[in-house]
Point group: C2
Chain length 210, copies 2
């Protein structure tokens, strides 16, 4: 039950008891970790929230760190897949930039718990696990940096250092777990459009904009 891929579950619609439990554990862990932070949330906290003994949990992950890694890895992998899918499209850079921001924002702000882990607790991983996650993060940065570079060369961008622009955007999105709530009247998709407005008007010259 702790193997990375479960062959029997592909293409089936009913979940076995163990699979249901696994999802329940992962979701609860993400929620608790996001609420109180990974390091201050104990395995005991998690087990009590689930109504299980803490020793029972170790049938679903190898260690607390492994649990965090699985949560982060699944989340980032899905995001990366969608993003690189979008980057492969043949779109004019300006439209690609806007689409990127809408996708990134809506996906991340749409799963507040996981984003919170990504932003706050990634450094709790050590050694290889940490390095692997950082490597995945760099692929995001490279993606948006590539798009912005095109815009710069086309003379469409203000005189702002590329990293400053990139991290201004990441800052907006990655800070959302601290304040944004889905049920507050603004959907993740709307938030994506709003960030697109702010960022595009913020870093682009209006030369070719409507």
């Amino acid at each position: 039950m702790r193997e990375k891929t479960n062959d029997r579950s592909v293409g089936r619609m009913t979940l076995s008891k163990g699979e249901k439990r696994q999802r329940q554990i992962y979701d609860t862990a993400a929620r608790l970790f996001a609420q109180r932070g990974y390091s201050r949330t104990s395995i005991r906290d998690l087990s009590e929230a689930l109504g299980l003994q803490k020793s029972s949990l170790y049938h679903y992950f190898e260690s607390k760190e492994d649990l965090l890694h699985r949560l982060l890895d699944q989340f980032m992998e899905e995001a990366l897949q969608r993003i690189e899918e979008l980057c492969a499209l043949a779109l004019p850079p300006q439209e690609k930039l806007a689409a990127f921001m809408r996708l990134y924002t809506s996906f991340y702000a749409g799963d507040r718990d996981r984003l919170s882990l990504l932003v706050n607790d990634l450094d709790c991983l050590g050694g290889e696990l940490h390095a692997a996650m950082v490597a995945k993060q760099r692929r995001y940065v490279a993606a948006i940096q590539g798009i912005l570079n095109e815009m710069r060369q086309a003379g469409l961008m203000r005189d702002i250092p590329l990293p400053v622009a990139v991290f201004a955007f990441f800052g907006m999105v990655h800070y959302t777990p601290k304040w944004y709530q889905r049920d507050g009247g603004v959907s993740p998709e709307e938030l994506g459009r709003l960030f697109e407005t702010i960022f595009c008007h913020g870093i682009l010259t209006g030369k070719e904009q409507p």
Copy 2:
């Protein structure tokens, strides 16, 4: 040596041995807490970095939580003082907004360690201490929200919900500890001007801009 105010030190230029030690301890604590996070940094870590026994540290603060609170309180108090000083000035709202952003950014990005504590470890405080810090934070939010409200009423702002605009800005600045380094070619003051550019063009209509 752990009293909140030290009468003998006011208006004197030389620091006693204990006062020097106190600063050394606070600065080292801020650095370590920022590097590895408050909860994962032990009193033992701090004592080893200082070359002292951990019991010795308790002459300078009452508890680990008290130490964090002092770091945050000093930092926020100084920031608030400067900000409310600026807000008291009779400036047109647009200039005030720009000045606010430059001040806020340069002050916060100028002390990466303390900002990191503020963003990441404020929730490690419990009860009254936490409530007091949150109350101070609200004064920032109220300040910038007030300015933006003026701009909105004057019809100078895009159709963006006020909280979204406010936290987009806070997001940019509060995310800087994750990537920004003073010696990377951009000074905190320059960064403030860049964020001003991005944010103002991002949320304001160009109607009354040069």
